[in-house]
Structure formats: C-alpha cells, structure tokens
C-alpha cells in the first residue's frame, strides 16, 4: 500500500501530508480504540479482601495477579479487620455487594450464606479446583460449597528445642500423650523453666486451647454443633474435660505465671525467646520464628488426653474466598478465582508471600525452609481436621469460650464449673437466636459426614 502511494501519479506535498496524517491518525485511533474495545468487552469485577494484616505480602500478590489478569478488570479493596463481615453483609443487603468476597471459615461466612448473600460455588467453579483448594467441611451447607480455600493456617503447638535439651528431654520427640506432657512439664520445671502456656489476656489463647483440646473429645465436628443446639450437654464430663485438664496444668504450677496478663502473641514470643517451653501457636509464624531461632522451634500436635476420633489429628484452619449472590457477573468472578488457582499464580503466591497457598496443585518441594516444609508434610499433606471453634456461635465464643479459659487459668473457675457456664451460655444462645438454631440443626447433616 505504501509502495502504491509513493508511485501513484500526481502525488505531491499535499498528498504526502494528507497520507501521513491519515496514517498517523489511523495508528493513533487504533492505539486508543484497542484498550477501549478491550474494556468494552472485558467485565469489571470488584473484590473485597482481607489478609495483609496476618500475611504481609498478600497485597503485593493481589496487585500482581490483578495486573496479570486480562479477561476482566478487577478493582480490589483491602478491608479493615473489624468490618470484614458487617461491611459485606450491609452491602449485600443493600444490593451492592462486591463480586468476590474474602471469607473466614465456618460460621464467619455461613451466616452470610444463610442470609442469601453468597452464591454456591459448585457448578460455578470447577469441581477439581474446588476440591484442590480444601475449603474444609465447614464451608458446606445443604450439599453446596460456599468458599474456595485461599491459604491455610496450620494450628500447631510450638516447643523450644533448646529448653528441651537443657531439661534432658529429647528435642526430636515432643510429648504425644497427656502423661508424656505432665512428665515433660515436671522435668522442665525442675530444670528451672516455665513449662507451658502463653498469654490469655486478650482471650484468643482460650479459643486456641479449645481448638486443640475440645476437639479431642469429639468423633465428628457435627458433634460440636449438637452441643450448641442442645442435643448434647457441656456438663457431661467428656465435653468439658479439656477445661479440667487446663485446671490440672494450673494446679500443678505448669502454666507461666504472667499468662493472665499477657496477650496471645507476646506469649508465643516467650517460647521463641526461650523463656517458655511449649504452647499453642500459628503455623504461619513458623518461617520467621524458625529463622530467628536457627531452626530451634519445633511443631507438635497437642498431647492427647481425649478419646474422641478427632483426637491427635493435626488441625488446619483455612482462609477462603467466595462469590456474592448479587455479583454482576458470577461467571467472570469464577473465572478470576480459577486464575488464582493456576500453577503460575500458586507459585507466585509462595514467591511473594513466603507462605503456602491452599491447593493440592502446589508442590511443597518448593518450600525452602526445612522447618516449614517438615511442618507442612504433617499438617498439610497428612490427614488433618478443621478448626472446630469456627463452628461456635458468636455469643458462645464471646461469653463462654473466651472467659472460661481465662477464669480457669486464673483459678476463678474449675473445669467442671466451666462446663456449667458453657451449658448456660449455649442455652442463652438458643433463646436469643431461635432462627439460627434451625440453621445449625440443618448444618449438622453436612458436618457429620
């Protein structure tokens, strides 16, 4: 075409200028129209998410993924911790929810599902992706799954190998049974170390203790729900045994003395600093803590006292993500979630955050930290159970789970009295929330499978 123009008869300066203008204009319009066409064709999605607060680097991963995604324009918003649920529910009720919403596990998203604010993901996201992400059984209701797993939170017990060695305990064989634990505590105490504990002032330790202890008395996670809806009773010795065991640790003087006045994370810091031997922690802390101690922090499952079928199993909680019922384009939202679960994005998640994405498509061979890889082999790649405290109604969590642990530790309640208080609060919850009791009764069916 250019050749034809140049050799055409009568081609003068005016023609050259006109031709040049037309060519440049065409090029310019083309470059402008390209994105306009793409924008006109690609859907626009909104995604409200949380997690940078507990997993630094997640923001960078989200930003990179959004930039790399070409099938839709995704506008993201990092939510404040206090409003993750209420902000979504208010927007959903007003008919303006985000397309994609970050979802905590269990009741923390199931209530939104019951209110009709979440879309079931089965049929929308491929079954293969859904299963690979391990959203956990707590995401199921009425045969539907409402979340995709995003990243895991293994719930471990830390122990300090240096203190174990100084107390003549095998640092590679932490206590596995309750009798082993008491014997180890005695040796640690004799050696001048505070054996077990953490910090309970802000209450979260009480919850974590229930995650590890209460679950040991259960055969299924559905059994926990039966306690809340009144089919079973916390006053039965089996169901408050974990508080009796906690009382035992206190009366034997095995808990650290400043436990009631310390918060959760300063309490865990004591283990890392070599001032406390054992206690509950979060697996997501391990990369940093392992590096800080040159690999001298070990992970163990809470020593077993219970006779339930779930006793002694590693616990993995799961953060997740889902699609709002009011999403403008659910198929486009699902496609973006599929994109986040491609091998490239899963590897990018690990590269950017240093943590593990929740997908069986991610190979743990990529984890360079030996302690983390070893921990993940047990918690992530072996049979594990979910965190049963995510089933607790908020009222029970606030008025029973948190205060009972604090009061048993400070000696204000016995384990048995804690069971009575839990039964009373469960009864109050049923009176305050008759509509939720019905939902919980239906949920048991999914949770007992």
């Amino acid at each position: 075409m250019t050749k034809n123009m140049i050799t055409a008869p009568g081609f003068g300066r005016r023609g050259f200028l006109q031709g040049t203008a037309a060519t440049l204009g065409g090029l310019g319009m083309g470059s402008l129209l390209g994105p306009l066409r793409a924008n006109a064709q690609s859907p626009e999605l909104t995604m409200w998410w949380w997690g940078e607060q507990e997993l630094p680097g997640l923001q960078a991963f989200v930003d990179e993924s959004v930039a790399a995604y070409t099938d839709a324009k995704v506008a993201t918003m990092l939510q404040d911790t206090a409003v993750v649920i209420s902000q979504f529910q208010t927007a959903a009720a007003a008919g303006t929810p985000p397309d994609i919403q970050y979802l905590w596990n269990g009741i923390y998203h199931m209530e939104s599902a019951w209110l009709g604010y979440l879309k079931p993901l089965n049929g929308l996201v491929s079954e293969d992706t859904l299963r690979a992400s391990n959203p956990t059984i707590l995401s199921n209701f009425g045969g539907n799954t409402y979340r995709l797993g995003w990243y895991p939170l293994p719930m471990v017990w830390y122990y300090n190998k240096d203190l174990f060695e100084k107390a003549w305990l095998d640092p590679e064989a932490p206590p596995a049974t309750w009798a082993d634990l008491l014997a180890a505590c005695e040796k640690l105490k004799t050696a001048g170390f505070e054996p077990v504990g953490g910090g309970v002032q802000d209450g979260y330790w009480s919850e974590w203790y229930m995650s590890h202890g209460f679950v040991q008395t259960l055969d299924t996670v559905g059994e926990a729900v039966e306690l809340f809806i009144g089919d079973k009773d916390f006053r039965e010795p089996r169901y408050h045994e974990h508080w009796v065991r906690l009382e035992e640790l206190r009366t034997l003087g095995f808990l650290n003395k400043d436990m009631p006045s310390l918060e959760l994370y300063p309490g865990i810091d004591l283990i890392v600093a070599g001032k406390l031997a054992m206690g509950p922690s979060a697996g997501s802390r391990l990369p940093a803590d392992s590096t800080a101690t040159n690999g001298r922090i070990g992970c163990m499952v809470m020593p077993v006292f219970g006779k339930g079928k779930l006793a002694g199993k590693p616990i993995v909680d799961m953060q997740g993500i889902g699609i709002a019922e009011g999403a403008k384009d659910p198929a486009a939202a699902a496609a973006f979630l599929e994109f986040l679960n491609t091998p490239d994005r899963l590897n990018a998640f690990h590269r950017i955050t240093g943590w593990i994405p929740s997908s069986s498509r991610f190979s743990s061979d990529q984890i360079e930290n030996d302690s983390v890889r070893s921990m993940w082999k047990t918690w992530g790649e072996s049979p594990n159970i979910t965190n049963v405290t995510n089933l607790m109604p908020g009222q029970f969590y606030e008025q029973a789970a948190i205060p009972t642990g604090q009061q048993v530790i400070s000696g204000d309640l016995t384990g048995e009295q804690a069971g009575e208080l839990a039964a009373q609060v469960a009864q109050e919850w049923r009176e305050f929330n008759p509509d939720l009791v019905e939902k919980y009764q239906q949920w048991v069916v999914d949770l007992s499978k």
């Binding site: 002032q201 003395k257 006045s261 969590y397 204000d412 009176e431």
Partner: protein
C-alpha cells in the same frame, strides 16, 4: 408577654434542634425500631418486647450494670482529689501554672494511648510489679490486669487518674473567678487554710461540683468503653470482670450479630442518660434560683 415574645426563644434554638434531629434523629428512631425486632443483616421481624425480656433475664447484662455502678465509687474520690489539688493550686504556690499544665496532660492524651501504656506497666511482670519486688513489697505485686478480683479496680484507678484532671481544671476556673475579698477577710479574721476552704471557698463552688458529679455519673455509666476495651483485652476480661454496658452493646452489635439486642440495651442506656441530664438541669436551675 406577647405571643411573638414567647416564641422568640424557641426560634433561636430551632436551628440547633433541627441540626440535632438531622444528625441523630434517624439513628435514634432506627435504634428504637430495631429494639423491637429480631434483626438479621439490616432488618428482621417484629418481636415486641422479647429483646428487652431476654436482656433483662441474662446474668451477664446485670453483671455489666453492676460493674458500671461499682465505677460510681470513683466519683467521690475524683471530687476529693480535684478539690484538694485545685485548692492547693489556688494558693498560687511557686510553679503552680506549670503544675496545672502537667496535671491536665492526662486529660489531653487519648484514652487508648494512656490505657495501652498503663496496661504494659501493670502486667504481672511489668515495671510496677518489678519496682514493688525491688522494694521487697512482693505482697503488693498483684496481677493487676490478669486477676478477675483486681482488674476492675485497676481500670477504676486509671479512670480516677485521668478524669480527675477535668475536675481540677473546672474547680480551679471557678476559684479564679471568685471575689478574693471574702477570702482575704477570712484570712484577716485568722481563718486557717482548711477553714477558708471549708467555709468560704467550697460553698461558692457548689454549682460546679454538682455539674462535675453529674457529668462523672454519665461518664461512669456510658463513657468508659475505651478504658475497658484496652485494659480488659478488648473483651471485658479476664473472664467478665471488666464487662460494662457499653461493651455489652458493642459485643451484641459487632461480635454476636444481635443488632436487636444491642438496640434494646442502647435504648435503656439512652433513657438513663436522659434522666441524668434532666437531673443536671434541675440542679442547675435550683442553684441559679438560690443565687438570685
């Protein structure tokens, strides 16, 4: 008095009432409406007085009310501290202006900042107990924020320390506005400091003391959230030992998904606060009448 004269005062306050109605009107109406509903999400079915019955039948609510009432014990202490310090400052001892500024600093600082610092200091292994142990006063090294028997008293001490500053400034302002001739006459008559304070100064401060007491009662019943939230680990702990009505409302609304319950308690707290404000104005009117 003609009709326009009678209407004029109301016309002056009408814009302010309109503004208040615009800002708070809808919220208050919604709050009352919610208190009669089982709210899920942003609405729910009408259930009459059920929310009120549930709240009034729950031991935790009454425990929270009890803690608020216990905090009222702080008020006489605050008044006494504020009176003594303001009367001492009124004597214009050397450096009194600097002392006045230093005393008011706690009141200027945000409550969360003060509470976080004091929480660190009052930990079982914190600086306060370390000093006590260093002084061989181990028996006094209590678990200030970790023991259910002690925690509320620790919160109360923090409230007294901070809120007394307001009393000092109010009382001192009143003292500085008094006619000093009366005090001088008493001094010339041989009255010592105590007699001048008791018979001359304090009687003239009655109005401001009553004002401070009523304001403090309202504070103790409905404005201690920030203290308790920080010192009690965000949950009114340990256990429920520092749970107060405001935190009860917050938990119901934010943490236990019970906006109807939160609204019912808010309505009751609002009613009590209104009653106290009415008492305040009644006292003011009585003081004014006595003055004229």
């Amino acid at each position: 008095m003609t009709l326009p004269q009678r209407i004029t005062p109301y016309l002056y306050v009408a814009p302010l009432i309109g503004l208040l109605a615009f800002v708070f009107g809808y919220s208050i109406v919604s709050m009352v409406e919610f208190s009669f509903k089982m709210v899920r999400g942003i609405d729910g079915p009408w259930i009459g007085l059920r929310n009120y019955r549930l709240v009034l039948g729950q031991p935790l609510f009454w425990e929270s009310v009890g803690h608020n009432l216990l905090l009222l014990l702080a008020i006489p202490v605050m008044v006494a501290i504020a009176l003594v310090i303001s009367l001492l400052l009124y004597e214009r001892l050397r450096g009194w202006k600097l002392v006045r500024t230093v005393i008011f600093i706690p009141y200027i600082l945000a409550i969360p900042i003060v509470a976080v610092v004091l929480k660190q200091m009052f930990q079982f292994s914190g600086p306060v107990n370390e000093v006590l142990r260093w002084l061989s006063l181990d028996f006094m090294a209590l678990d200030w924020i970790g023991s259910g028997d002690v925690a509320l008293w620790t919160v109360m001490a923090l409230i007294i320390w901070r809120e007394s500053a307001l009393g000092i400034i109010l009382f001192l302002s009143r003292l500085l506005s008094l006619d000093e001739a009366l005090t001088e006459v008493a001094r010339l008559d041989g009255a010592n400091w105590w007699k001048r304070a008791w018979y001359v100064l304090i009687p003239q401060m009655r109005g401001v003391i009553e004002f401070y007491v009523v304001i403090s009662i309202i504070t103790m019943l409905s404005a201690v959230f920030a203290y308790v939230y920080i010192m009690g680990g965000g949950r009114g702990g340990p256990g429920t030992s520092t749970m107060v009505v405001e935190l009860y409302i917050y938990n119901a609304l934010v943490r236990t998904s019970l906006p109807g319950i939160a609204a019912a308690v808010s309505v009751m707290l609002f009613a009590v606060s209104l009653l106290l404000i009415w008492v305040l104005f009644a006292l003011r009117r009585r003081t004014d009448d006595a003055g004229t």
